[in-house]
């Protein structure tokens, strides 16, 4: 099983996690910029965090044979804090970076006017920088938040095929399916989605535009949930090809729209496992 985890906050994880992920077949991931649990109080703590995402964390992942990419944005929660909003002015500098494959996470937390404005501005940045957008849907009032998200996406003029609407569940998957955007599901130990319910959704809606992530962070979460979902799919009668589509091809196709995915294997991590054999896809590098 080769796995691309399209949403995982590795900054909060240990090297043991990296090792376990590599053993399970994870060869590439995307780390979206989000909040840190403890609220930030200045732009400087954002830029240090972004520097980590495009530098240190990428280096750390490479030590374990995993290609690290990230998304950059002001997250919805902190969009409400005027001390943080100024970070919007430095975003263009980061959106030009090699490992940055989308604008994100953007979207709603409490659906305030401030969140509206920041969401709209960042979707415009995505269009301007020719990057896809990763959209977070709120934990509270989810269905209304998801519908409003889709309206804002529509108004922004961004191609729905370049938008991934994340953290979906049974009540919210339908509207996103209709909209033409990609559908993201975070598989958690006890909140959001679990593997069994995920398999049921895949049965109902098929594997097109379906994306599964662990969204593991500093909270109770499991970086191997992508792998476990793959196993649950096989148990339920899905084929290896189906699993590969959901856990590898789909996220590669979505983030590949940035032209910045680098998926060739890292030096020292040769194709010793079957799961990675034959893959030397390089997207966006072109000249190497």
């Amino acid at each position: 099983m080769r796995i691309f985890d399209p949403h995982i906050h590795m900054t909060s994880r240990t090297t043991d996690d990296y090792e376990a992920m590599f053993s399970a077949g994870v060869r590439a991931l995307v780390e979206p910029a989000f909040w840190l649990g403890q609220p930030r109080t200045s732009v400087a703590s954002f830029t240090d965090y972004f520097d980590s995402l495009i530098g240190w964390e990428r280096f750390r992942a490479a030590q374990f044979g995993i290609r690290h990419h990230c998304t950059i944005a002001l997250n919805p929660k902190e969009a409400n804090d005027p001390r943080c909003r100024e970070v919007l002015d430095v975003l263009p500098r980061y959106l030009a970076k090699d490992g940055v494959v989308a604008v994100g996470e953007v979207g709603y937390d409490s659906m305030t006017p401030e969140e509206d404005e920041v969401f709209t501005r960042q979707l415009a940045l995505a269009v301007e920088h020719e990057l896809p957008a990763l959209v977070h849907t709120p934990h509270r009032d989810k269905l209304a938040g998801t519908k409003r998200t889709l309206d804002v996406v529509k108004e922004s003029g961004i191609d729905p095929g370049r938008v991934l609407v994340d953290h979906l569940n049974e009540p919210t998957v339908g509207v996103v399916h209709e909209s033409g955007s990609w559908m993201g599901f975070s598989i958690y130990p006890d909140t959001k989605m679990d593997e069994i319910r995920m398999v049921a959704i895949l049965r109902e809606y098929g594997t097109e535009r379906m994306i599964v992530n662990s969204a593991a962070d500093w909270g109770r979460s499991d970086p191997l949930k992508t792998y476990k979902t793959g196993l649950a799919m096989l148990d339920a009668g899905f084929t290896e090809a189906d699993v590969d589509k959901v856990l590898w091809q789909n996220p590669v196709e979505f983030y590949g729209q940035s032209d910045r995915l680098v998926l060739d294997e890292l030096p020292g991590f040769s194709s010793s496992t079957e799961t990675f054999a034959g893959n030397s896809v390089l997207r966006g590098g072109g000249n190497t």
Partner: protein, 495 residues
């Protein structure tokens, strides 16, 4: 690439004399236009003549292509007549088939041809049909003798643009023997994009190149420098695509002074090749040679340098894009797979950009601005950009040294081994204080950067560093761990 000269520019010379002069001037190929006085394809002793010319080409070590653009060879009253698109194209087809056989006899690379001007009485659909039919027929003959054809888009003719020629090729099923002849002057005159872009577009299909200068909108073959062709960039593009065939000067209206004009052209070509900027290209797997740079330069980088010259601020947007555009391969992958010692191709390209930036800002007598810009590039750079700044520091003017030292110290506080390695190069050897430099060396041993990455290791090693390394080795032994080989070597060299 084999630089050559076209015999249609020696119309007042005997062919043998022309070939000798061309070879004597230093050219290594020739574009041979079949004409009534130059290897007459309708002559009674054709076979004998072909043998004779083949021998002469061989003796002079000239590669060749056969050109079929003679003016009054087939019809003494109508220039270039008949053509592939006129009402009676048979004469042209027969001639092209003859040319192919002659080319086979000469051992030439290709036979070059054009469509001809579409007569006003022939509609474009008919002309296109005739091109398809005529070329199809000639291609069969090409297959018999296994000599490629090169269709040359010609200003004013029916197949005028490269895109027309490529489309015709596609419609005929992209036959292997259907190549392209490209006149780089024509690109200036009539193509929507410049010559290097046309060269890259046709790339593998090119079987023959004609070199000359031209002005936009004017189909007049000029000597180099008289028109608007960027000869350096054109030759660089040919190298870049790996073109190894004939590239011959095409000056058909300069026969009256052929030897002088040909000598001038040769010297212009040498100058353009010689002054090509220091090239940047990824090393190939079997590249052991320290002179890893070939004659290839990366077109994106050349353009980026021009942008920085025009607008120094543009460096902020260009710097992050370098890896995506020129690649990220290590320069010596065999011995240095991570590029820790010798760096990577993007490192090298970034040094080039920094050098240009320093020239622009320094000429403004404003090196404070340069220091500031470099600090910003580093501050907002990702790991690769920071590495690029660090490796470029030694190429910058002295006024930037204080700023550079701060950046090196910042990098030595990092744990990314590629930053640590890049920080300990020539700049650190020259400008870092003894204490920081020693700690830099120790950090390399600590995090696993080969000491080969440390510049001036031998000359800067002092007793204090040896003491520190000795203590470190002792600590490793006490813990039952292996002492890094580089540490052992360093200690053994200075007992």
């Amino acid at each position: 690439m084999r630089l050559g000269y076209g015999t249609n520019g020696f119309a007042n010379h005997r062919l043998d004399d022309a070939l000798r002069i061309i070879a004597d001037l230093g050219y290594s190929s020739v574009a041979l236009t079949l004409d009534h006085h130059h290897l007459d394809p309708f002559g009674d002793d054709l076979t004998k003549q072909v043998d004779h010319v083949a021998n002469l080409l061989d003796r002079l070590d000239l590669r060749s292509v056969v050109e079929t653009g003679a003016r009054y060879l087939l019809d003494p009253t109508h220039k270039h007549h008949p053509t592939l698109v006129c009402d009676e194209p048979e004469g042209r087809i027969d001639f092209l088939v003859r040319a192919l056989r002659i080319a086979a006899g000469l051992g030439s690379d290709a036979v070059s041809f054009w469509s001809g001007i579409r007569p006003s009485t022939v509609d474009p659909e008919t002309a296109w049909r005739r091109m398809r039919a005529g070329v199809g027929e000639v291609l069969e003959a090409a297959a018999d003798v296994d000599v490629p054809l090169g269709l040359e888009p010609e200003p004013g003719m029916f197949v005028e643009h490269l895109s027309d020629a490529l489309r015709l090729r596609e419609e005929l099923g992209a036959p292997a023997l259907f190549g392209i002849t490209l006149d780089v002057g024509h690109c200036v005159a009539v193509e929507p994009v410049d010559a290097p872009t046309c060269i890259r577009r046709a790339a593998d299909l090119l079987v023959n190149i004609q070199l000359d200068d031209m002005r936009p909108g004017v189909h007049e073959h000029l000597e180099f420098g008289e028109g608007e062709l960027d000869l350096r960039a054109t030759l660089a593009a040919l190298s870049e695509i790996g073109y190894t065939g004939v590239a011959a000067v095409e000056l058909p209206r300069h026969s009256h002074a052929a030897p002088v004009v040909a000598a001038r052209a040769f010297s212009a070509l040498q100058t353009a090749l010689h002054h090509a900027p220091a090239p940047v290209t990824p090393a190939t797997g079997d590249d052991h040679d320290p002179e890893w740079v070939s004659t290839v330069d990366h077109p994106w980088l050349v353009e980026a340098e021009q942008k920085v010259r025009r607008d120094p601020k543009s460096v902020a947007a260009l710097f992050p894009a370098v890896g995506r555009k020129v690649g990220r391969a290590p320069l010596r992958p065999e011995t240095d797979p991570q590029g820790l010692v010798h760096g990577t191709v993007d490192d090298l390209a970034r040094t080039r950009l920094l050098t240009v930036l320093s020239e622009v800002l320094d000429s403004d007598k404003d090196s404070g601005k340069l220091s500031e810009e470099i600090a910003q590039l580093y501050r907002y750079g990702d790991d690769a950009e920071r590495r690029g700044v660090l490796r470029g520091l030694s190429a910058l003017p002295a006024a930037t040294v204080p700023a550079g030292v701060e950046l090196v110290k910042d990098a030595l506080r990092a744990n990314d081994i590629r930053l640590v390695a890049a920080a300990m190069g020539d700049f650190a050897a020259a400008h870092l204080d003894a204490h920081s430099w020693r700690h830099g060396v120790l950090k390399c041993l600590f995090v696993g950067v080969p000491l080969a990455a440390v510049s001036e290791l031998d000359s800067r090693t002092d007793d204090e560093l040896l003491r520190m390394v000795g203590d470190y080795a002792e600590e490793r032994r006490a813990a039952g761990r292996e002492v890094p080989a580089d540490a052992v070597t360093l200690l053994e060299a200075r007992p």
